[in-house]
Amino acid sequence: MTTEQLEVTHRAGPASRTVVNDFAIQVATVNGSGSQSANTVLLRALFQMGIPVSGKNLFPSNIAGLPTWYTIRVSRDGWVARKKEVDLLVAMNGETARDDVTQLRPGAAVIFDAPLALEAMRTDLAFYPVPFDELVAPVSSDARLRKLLRNMVYVGVLAGLLEIEIAEVERALARVFGAKQKALELNLRAVRAGLGHAATIEKHDPFRVAPMDATRGKIIIDGNAATALGALFAGVTVVPWYPITPSTSVVEALQGYLEQHRRTPDGQASFAVVQAEDELAAIGMVIGASWAGARAMTATSGPGISLMSEFAGLGYFAEVPAVIVDVQRIGPSTGLPTRTSQGDLLSTAFLSHGDTEHLLLFPGSVEECFTLTGQAFDLAERFQTPVFILTDLDLGMNNWMAEPLPYPETPLDRGKVLSKADLDRLGGFARYKDVDGDGIGWRTLPGTDHQKAAYFTRGTGHDEQAGYSERSDVFEKNMERLRRKFEGARAALPQPVVTGAGARVGLLAHGSSDPALREALVQLKQEAGLDADYLRVRAWPFAAAVRDFVAAHQRVYVVEQDRDAQLLALLKLDLEPSLTARLRSVAHVTGLPLDARSVTDELLAQEGR
């Protein structure tokens, strides 16, 4: 910690002062133990009180029995990035409790299962033992249920200690348990048991909440659901997929929405969700469906992207649209399937051999998961090429506050497709001829009822008529056209978002780094008086504005969540050397969502402050 203000805030001992709506709660538990509902109730109750919140789930690649940490950040300033420091720990997992406590900063509070006897560990923390078993015993006589209900007890304890409005907890409970009246009642009793216990606690930490009005009208959603909704409102029809963490919930959510909103009154489906046998098949089906004119997409993560490599090249070269969502997780190979990263940039930009290159989109929020996914379909059909949407586990699987998702204001752009009527008028067409000067040919869909509609799609060298050709000049010309098409995409892709102007230092980032970057901007200013502008890039190849931004700053820190500084690498490839000389790297490969503190500290260190 570098600033006095924050140090004061977190001083140990009896609550000498209060910290309102600005702390992080971490619940340490075991996966499969049913704490998810409790955490959701907690998050929602705070949200309903009008307080900005965000939730981050740190879970193992395992079904049940291993440690899990859920962190809720409460931030009156609206910060939603991960907070590096934990202020309140709820220690439910004996296996990690001592470790968890050791890592706390002085002044933090610990709510823990009394038998763990953690209170002797340190003197600079506030310890609140809770006899969970005792408290939950009267609630239910069913041992299995009691195991689940223990979690609701900590909700009650926290509500009491933090002064969370019980009415909001009840509303949140009602929402989570819906029509299950019996469950609702039981859980409410468990909450009350916790609440009752809290009343007996002598509080000696500074943390509490108070109602605000900062979440009105907002929604809470995870990025994968938002991506699914983006696809739904883009009119997706064919969705082949293969399950892989952390992308599975994209398709599972989408399937739910499609079932609900895309069946005819007599139950017929205007969509096909197909579980493929692997990712090669999933992308193959996407390409087949898109070729035939459908809006098709799949969702996967790193290993799936690697497996899609050959087909990605076919899509590029045969010029077939495709939308592929890559919810990134960390590491080469299987890596850590439940940890976040942005490590797939380079390999996806150049996915497949022989001068292949791809359009990439980088949503930076759940709203953009929605909007950019919608745009991805337009872009894929407009540019007749695969479009990769790179999100990550943090964005995709965590819950985020957001403005309501905006209804798309533009009609679907189905790209350059010639109908029978067009062909009647034109008398024919040449599939790969650059008639409009943008490198994009016109295509026809199979089934078009015209003698001249058909063309032959292939991954081999072809001429403008789509005929097989081994001629050097034909090959070269086609490749140059593809290059022009790709260059043309710069202007059509989502443009970067720039914050601030005129500073000498710039920050540049993408995707889920955004919340941490925005918070870091303020920290830099407040803690070190450093003015910085910030550009968030939203697509590859980069827009001209990226170049302008770098040109307008003396030093540009490229912040990213990977080891190899891959965003910086793409900038090096794209910018003239005089500009790349201005770039500095801030790259992290921890698997944890980026936090502002780490960015600020490292940036200041590099700035020599």
């Binding site: 997706v236 029809t237 064919v238």
Partner: protein, 346 residues
């Protein structure tokens, strides 16, 4: 390539000539079995009076997979990557279930690199014709053994195949295929009937067609040579086909002849050449096939047929119109829907 056979009428019921079903000039070796199959395929669509524009052709990579360029130029075609055509075809036919899909593959493309996708195509029963032009070798890469090479058979250079061969038909049967036939590129009549029945079928119609590679696998020691198949071919039935648009003549002996109504209302008539063989009995078909392989026979004909098995689009309950071209209002939910969703997330 597309010279009409003597028997073919000058125009079909659409008024199209066989020339309208022609493809580009073949670049395969003279005498390659694949060329004959191309002929049979285009004739089948011609005879059935299916507009070429309603057909979509699919293939992988190989000499065989090149052939869609050599028939029916008026049909869209997708020559995909090696061994992964089934997924492309599946996607395309989900996008537009009104298309007549026909896939052409090789034994390498299907049974070596492509076996995984083949297995799943069969399981899904995607409505399409799937022809394997089976020559036991990789023609295009100059004659290495494929997974269908029979153990004991030899390459020109003397190499002997020693792994169990994949019997594409037996495999498909085991996986629940709804239509399994085997034929020979040199057997015009049988192949034609099987192709028409395949087109009329409402699921994946698998045809394993022995199609000798004259350049790399037509020598003595090969079990995929013209002479081997001529000598060891064992047709199960004498087949004939009555399209839905023609009247059926009922003059046949139900004791020796079986008639099956296909998905589109056409009829396949099977005059048994082997007593007791019943193409609706999967288990027995399987035994017979496994036994025949042991005995070095090449069993041909309609090996198995279940005209009622639901295809993938049916199973998914898809609307009748192509998904690809549904109007925007049918695929983008209304503003009210989004409002409701937003509200539910508040």
């Amino acid at each position: 390539m597309a010279t009409p056979t003597a028997a073919a009428p000058r125009t079909n019921r659409l008024g199209l000539a066989i020339l309208d079903y022609k493809g580009g000039k073949t670049t395969l070796c003279a005498g390659c079995g694949h060329n004959a199959i191309s002929e049979r395929i285009l004739e089948a669509y011609f005879d059935l009076g299916i507009p070429p524009e309603r057909v979509a052709k699919f293939s992988g990579i190989g000499c065989s997979s090149k052939t869609p360029a050599y028939f029916m130029s008026r049909s869209h075609s997708f020559n995909a990557v090696h061994g992964r055509m089934p997924s492309v075809a599946t996607g395309a036919l989900l996008a537009n279930r009104t298309l007549h899909g026909v896939g052409v593959s090789g034994d390498g493309d299907t049974a070596s690199i492509g076996i995984g996708q083949f297995v799943n195509l069969i399981r899904r029963n995607v409505a399409m014709v799937y022809v394997v032009e089976n020559n036991g070798v990789y023609g295009l890469t100059k004659g290495q053994f494929s997974a269908t090479a029979d153990p004991g058979s030899t390459l020109k250079g003397g190499d002997v195949a020693d792994l169990p061969a994949i019997d594409i038909c037996a495999l498909a049967l085991q996986l629940g295929a709804s239509f399994v036939g085997r034929s020979f590129s040199g057997d015009k009549k049988q192949l034609s009937v099987l192709l028409k029945a395949a087109v009329a079928h409402g699921g994946t119609a698998l045809l394993d067609v022995i199609s000798p590679c004259v350049t790399f696998n037509d020598h003595e020691g090969s079990t995929k040579s013209f002479s081997f198949v001529k000598e060891h071919g064992e047709p199960l039935q004498e087949l004939s086909f009555v399209p839905a648009f023609e009247e059926i003549d009922v003059d046949y002996d139900p004791g020796t002849t079986q008639e099956v109504t296909l998905h589109d209302g056409s009829h396949l008539r099977l005059k048994k050449l082997e007593a007791g063989y019943d193409p609706s009995d999967r288990v027995r078909a399987m035994s017979r096939l496994m036994e025949s392989a042991r005995g070095g026979e090449v069993l041909t004909g309609m090996l198995f047929l279940d005209p009622a098995a639901p295809d993938l689009a049916t199973r998914l309950g898809l609307v009748a119109a192509p998904l690809a071209t549904l109007p925007p209002e049918q695929v983008r939910p209304s503003r009210a829907v989004l409002d409701a969703i937003n509200a539910s997330l508040r």
